[in-house]
């Protein structure tokens, strides 16, 4: 477990924000246990024991005393706040963002979105966060794309334009639920199809010309 210099307060992640996944899940949404599609962003926290850094090795999960059968990873574009953000409009949303970063969310496979996934998502060191780049280095975040490679092979490419909700929309909506503070981070959206990983894999994500994040997967 490593302290991360970027995130100080809370790391909020947005699930089900890949429109391909969202569209593909419509039938599932209409059945038990969900019963209807989400009307609001689906959010979860990665708590402070999960925060880690670029270059860190991520522990292989142990479940019920045994090495987990499988783990997955997703990468997300993230916004880092440098001042308080409370009840802002979409137009004002980016004013309190000081930097952009990448977040890796290592977890057990996402088998259900019904209950908070503490077992899957709260593993020590499972949320490495890259160095933040200043906002002025990027003209339009919606035009960016996040590419993830496992052992050098591309496993996902997620253009931010493919998200159900935009960066500004999410910041605005979340800022009406919870006041965001300097050092809070929102991971805006992950590819719906998380990449399977094996022990010993190397996982690298990049936003071309902006930032990158490299981690390795430990052995149980």
């Amino acid at each position: 477990m490593t302290n991360n210099p970027v995130v100080k307060g809370k790391l909020v992640c947005v699930a089900l924000n890949d429109s391909k996944q969202f569209d593909a899940m419509q039938d599932a949404f209409n059945n038990a246990p969900y019963k209807s599609a989400p009307t609001q962003p689906v959010l979860y926290f990665k708590p402070h024991n999960t925060w880690s850094v670029d270059g860190a090795e991520v522990e292989w999960a142990i479940t019920d005393g045994q090495p987990a059968q499988s783990m997955v990873v997703g990468a997300s574009f993230a916004v880092v706040f440098d001042r308080e953000c409370c009840r802002v409009s979409e137009e004002q949303a980016l004013e309190s963002v000081g930097g952009y970063a990448l977040v890796h969310d290592f977890s057990l496979p996402e088998v259900s979105y019904y209950r908070p996934d503490i077992k899957g998502k709260c593993l020590d060191g499972s949320a490495p966060i890259s160095a933040a780049v200043v906002v002025s280095a990027v003209t339009d975040p919606q035009a960016l794309s996040v590419i993830t490679q496992v052992n050098g092979e591309t496993v996902s490419e997620m253009p931010l334009s493919q998200m159900v909700r935009s960066v500004a929309q999410l910041i605005s909506t979340i800022s009406y639920i919870m006041t965001l503070q300097a050092g809070d981070v929102i991971a805006i959206g992950f590819p719906g199809e998380r990449a399977s990983i094996e022990q010993g894999d190397s996982v690298s994500s990049a936003i071309a010309g902006v930032t990158q994040l490299n981690n390795t997967v430990g052995r149980a």
Partner: protein, 261 residues
């Protein structure tokens, strides 16, 4: 010993609560020993550097029945952001245009020592003390995704906590404590920690198998039956035997956010 955090003349102070508090209202500054009248302070939530806030859903046998749920076979744990925290005698808000907001009076165990894979037998070594919280919920906002979702449970001011942390050894057995809530003086919730399904040692063992627990992490252990809607102007007092009584004033969204509304 009871430990609190207060604002006094613009300064954040760590204080202890005097033995005579019930009659004198006196607090003592930890830094210089100055005695302070509680009438002159603003109470802050008692955990100085809040870590992960765990909360339990459906963890009282009677409350699970009230909500027409089978008691869970595994704890229903969710996380809350530190933005939800506020102190004793502070405001909490009712969002505009909702139908049902209720209190939840809960015993909170505060972690005092880091640990992973802590056994049930050793669990209490990792607890510093206890406080209580009012884990408000906005039922209108429930959706079946990571339920109870953050929109229901991670709103500003909707986790009043305090007034203080009381040392573990000053409480002793926590398995038979009366848990009550009064709204505007009327008793609306009356349970007992004896009805807790997954107790504190179980939860410490369960959570620390998944993740490292650290000082400043908190486990809110769920609430008994007796839910009631809240309105601006209501005064809610949650009380747990041997721990303390936590008072909260409900205000409108407009009043709470004032110029940010």
């Amino acid at each position: 010993m009871k430990h609190a955090r207060v604002l006094f003349k613009g300064l954040e102070l760590d204080v202890t609560v005097e033995e005579s508090f019930a009659t004198t209202g006196l607090l003592k500054s930890k830094s210089d020993g100055q005695l302070i009248d509680q009438a002159e302070v603003t109470w802050l939530s008692p955990v100085k550097d809040p870590g992960t806030i765990f909360a339990l859903g459906l963890n009282y046998a009677d409350h699970a029945r009230e909500l027409a749920f089978e008691p869970p076979k595994e704890p229903l744990v969710f996380l809350k952001g530190a933005n939800t925290l506020t102190g004793h005698k502070q405001n909490a808000y009712r969002p505009d245009n909702i139908k049902f907001q209720h209190y939840e009076c809960e015993l909170v165990a505060v972690i005092g020592k880091e640990g992973k894979n802590i056994s049930r037998e050793n669990a209490m070594d990792h607890i510093a003390g206890y406080t209580l919280c009012n884990d408000f919920a906005i039922r209108d906002y429930l959706e079946n995704y990571y339920r109870p979702n953050l929109r229901v449970k991670s709103r500003d001011s909707l986790l009043p906590m305090g007034p203080w942390i009381i040392d573990k050894d000053d409480v002793g057995d926590i398995s038979n404590l009366r848990v009550t809530t009064h709204v505007n003086g009327e008793l609306t919730q009356d349970g007992n920690t004896a009805d807790i399904i997954f107790d504190v040692p179980f939860l410490v063992e369960y959570l620390s198998k998944i993740m490292t627990l650290k000082p400043g992490d908190m486990i809110a252990t769920g609430t008994p039956e007796g839910l009631k809607d809240m309105q601006p102007g209501d005064k809610v007092v949650c009380e747990i035997e041997k721990i303390g009584a936590l008072e909260t004033h409900i205000v409108s969204e407009r009043e709470f956010y004032a110029d940010k509304y």
